[in-house]
């Protein structure tokens, strides 16, 4: 299995009012193709910081990050945006769909920034919505969809660029248990089809779907169970 993502001795500190806060210290971590990982930890543990680094939304203070072997430390903002576009598929707790914008247009969004022509965008977005079972809702606005349906639209949006990693931040946090289970089923299914998934959660019931659980506390990895063997 190839390495999708590798963090080598990554630290991240924040300076606030002259006080330095160490959010992550010397974290090393390798994520391989097809893994289904849950990152767990209490709030303030550094799991959000880790997620932002994996998602290329942030840069480490020291250490190195490689995505599919490519060092991203030297990348400028534009290159980082391109890496997010092609390698990362985000799924958020709040869904983050554009309101007054159809489900179809929401799913198309990443392809606009990938400079794909509008007809091809549309075709692929319809395909993705079919995959999450929402083809008949494609012209609905987010406000006309249930929470579970909105999150499925968001997953379709995350999948449309065929990213290296699906990065989901508390994807069931705003859903009732039934919808939450549906969403987890989708993730299970994606995993079965060989997708690499990283879940960030504090919910043990969600985390147990994952094959590997990384526990974080005080900016360090405490426990890393179920790592894939070579």
């Amino acid at each position: 299995m190839t390495d999708i993502l590798r963090l080598a001795g990554v630290s991240r500190e924040y300076k606030m009012d002259g006080v330095t806060f160490q959010a992550l210290r010397d974290v090393s971590l390798t994520i391989k193709q097809g893994e289904f990982i849950a990152i767990m930890g209490p709030s303030g543990s550094g799991k959000s910081t880790l997620m932002h680094l994996i998602g290329c939304l942030d840069r480490p203070s020291s250490g190195k990050i490689f995505i599919e072997g490519k060092d991203i430390i030297g990348a400028n903002d534009r290159e980082l945006a391109e890496i997010r576009n092609t390698h990362i598929g985000f799924v958020f707790q709040q869904f983050n769909l554009l309101r007054k914008t159809s489900a179809l247009a929401n799913v198309e969004l990443p392809l606009i920034y990938a400079k794909i022509a509008s007809r091809a965008r549309r075709e692929r977005a319809i395909e993705m919505l079919k995959e999450v079972g929402l083809a008949e809702k494609m012209s609905n606005f987010p406000s006309q969809l249930s929470g579970g349906q909105q999150q499925r639209v968001a997953i379709a949006r995350a999948l449309i660029t065929n990213p290296s990693i699906i990065l989901a931040d508390e994807p069931t946090g705003n859903l009732d248990s039934k919808s939450g289970k549906d969403i987890m089923d989708i993730f299970e299914n994606l995993h079965a089809h060989g997708r690499t998934i990283v879940l960030v959660t504090h919910d043990e019931n969600v985390a147990k779907h994952a094959k590997r659980i990384i526990r974080i506390a005080d900016g360090e990895i405490m426990n890393d169970k179920g790592k894939m063997k070579l």
Partner: protein, 399 residues
Amino acid sequence: MNMFEPIRLALRSLRTNKVRSLLTMLGIIIGVSSVILLVSIGSGLQDYITTQFQSLGANTIYIMPGKIDLKNVSSAGQSMMTSKLETADVNNILHGSSVITDIGPAVAASGLLTYKGKTISTETAGIWENYFTITNFEAASGDIIRQSDVERSRKVVVLGDKPAADLFGDADPVGQSIDISGVRYLVKGRLAAKGSGAMGSNVDDHAFIPYTTALRQFSFTNPQMIVLKVANQNDIAPAIEDINHVMLRRLKDTDFTVLQQTELLNTITQFLGVITVALGGIAAISLLVGGIGIMNIMLVSVTERTREIGLRKAVGATSRDILFQFLIEAIILSLTGGIIGISIGALGSLALRSVIKTAVTLWSVGLAAGFSTVIGIIFGVAPAVRASQLDPIEALRYE
């Protein structure tokens, strides 16, 4: 992204907030339409005055008694009464200058014109036979005043279009007799209308009788005015020089004034030009206010759409993509407002046509369109930069 993608994005987001977009444009619409409208009124006035003057004869020069200050026109009245001009000056000037083609003295008095019991008051001018050539008047029917009329002090009158219409309606007055202040005159002709509009003195509201007849009827001894004409524009300056040369031999320079159309016209158009620019400037201030309105709304919009910006960045938008999206939104708002404003201003100016000849000038349209685009850019930059520099992590957390 290609050229059109940011425009499509901006249009989509403006469409989702139709009412707000329209309200934002309102400032620009009002500003642009008032610039167009006010400038069109100003230049309409300028055109109007220019045509009026040209219809009076562009190469015409007037010698008036007394000192007339163009900036203090009210002083003209008194000096008319004590005219030191003499009929002999006419020949002296004609012999003293090589560029003057026609010259004649004139007097004027308020005359009461009566026909079949109907009486009207009209400025009655006593004129030399070449007056009509000098001032570009033509007879619509009958004939004008001729040399023999002046020589023999005939009691004939040529009516301007207005008194003719007032006394005779559509009927031909030629050959009829009318009384002018108690003396019977034969109507010799009716002049073609020059068509003065709603403003200013009416050049058609005159009656003309031979100069010699007028002197006797109104007890004048001196001409109140000497009117002359040169062949072309270039002859005006030498003509004035010659006139001054001849006249100063006999009179002080405070006893007469040489007026010419172009000088008068220039003064008036200059004045109107200043007014037009001032009106445009005042209206342009409202454009500025409109621009501030756009900036205000765009800043609100950036704050409101913080999460959207964060999301767009997370899925691959660069800072430049976000910058262009918001900048183009601002430009589309102001440009659309500008186009609507131009249409409204042009329609308004068209509607005013019946009252005053307005003219929508190309420069005011260009200025308004250019100005509103520039305003969109200037006032759109700050919000767009703010949007583009949002940290995606912070933006996604924003509640």
